[in-house]
Symmetry: C2
Subunit: 144 residues, 2 copies
DNA sequence: CTTCAATTGTTGAATATTCAATATTTTCAA
DNA sequence: TTGAAAATATTGAATATTCAACAATTGAAG
């Protein structure tokens, strides 16, 4: 039986929040070199397969809710990193595509992100990293 | 060497964000029974040792930055869950304490949180959970 | 001692996020 | 085929968060 007076630092929810905050902070720092928030990098990365992705699909993939995504996409359209196309098969939908400029930026961001992953691998270890990834994937799976 | 064209779902930063989001969502759902956001539960839990904690200390512990914490504490003071006392030894500091009402609420919240941890233990497994916690702690350590 | 820098917490303006309502299109049952 | 319900995306108002500036106190060097 779990103890209800356990310190906050022993709760899984807290450890996840703390680790997420720290890793995200580090990534943010790298990406800020290009002046791009983490969410925009995620969006570019998802779109970089060249296929059109609907807003709903994208919102799920990048962990943003719909109105927030709409407003972020508005900014990215202004910056000509992405563009909207109405889905010809279902006119309720909007398909998002990455622009050439977006692709160029995405490549730079990818390399900054890889820098970070390599930094983690060094300080945290190859074994721990892959084991942690495996456990996280399985936690996410078991939560659906 | 890490691949820069790896899908977003393979990045540690993304897996952490996804897992954190999901677990947090579940916890939020439980705590909403008492109408309390996760951050307020964390605050109450940290303060429930009865000692006075400065705002800075508290901000670190509950993963909020200072202005956000100040405003949240303002609300909690209005709800008489916590109260401020000027630190007699260093008058720049404010020491936060939990009220009796706060303690009562905290107990209820703890039991809701324990429900969730037990639910995770069931669906995810005892072994995986403790192994994941261990790896997260070690990741956090190695990031300082 | 005095002064200047550092620490601590709060405030207000700017920014971002969320909630509820809306508009449009599609689906599907009667 | 029509009308009601569901799905999709956006908008605007309400709310929350963040950034930069500030005020108060302490520390520490000269």
């Amino acid at each position: 039986m779990a103890k209800s007076n356990a310190p906050i630092t022993e709760h899984l929810a807290y450890l996840l929040a703390q680790a997420n905050r720290e890793i995200n902070r580090q990534l943010e720092l790298r990406l800020s070199k290009e002046g791009v928030p983490v969410e925009q990098w995620r969006i570019l990365k998802v779109l970089s397969d060249g296929d059109g992705h609907s807003m709903g699909e994208l919102a799920d993939a990048v962990l943003l809710n719909h109105p927030t995504l709409t407003k972020m996409i508005d900014r990215m359209v202004s910056d000509t990193l992405v563009y909207r196309v109405q889905d010809p098969n279902d006119r309720r939908k909007v398909l998002m595509f990455i622009s050439d400029r977006g692709k160029v930026l995405c490549r730079k961001l990818n390399s900054l992100a890889v820098d970070q992953e390599e930094h983690i691998l060094e300080s945290y270890g190859d074994k721990s990293t892959s084991e942690l990834k495996r456990l996280l994937e399985s936690l996410i799976d078991s939560s659906n």
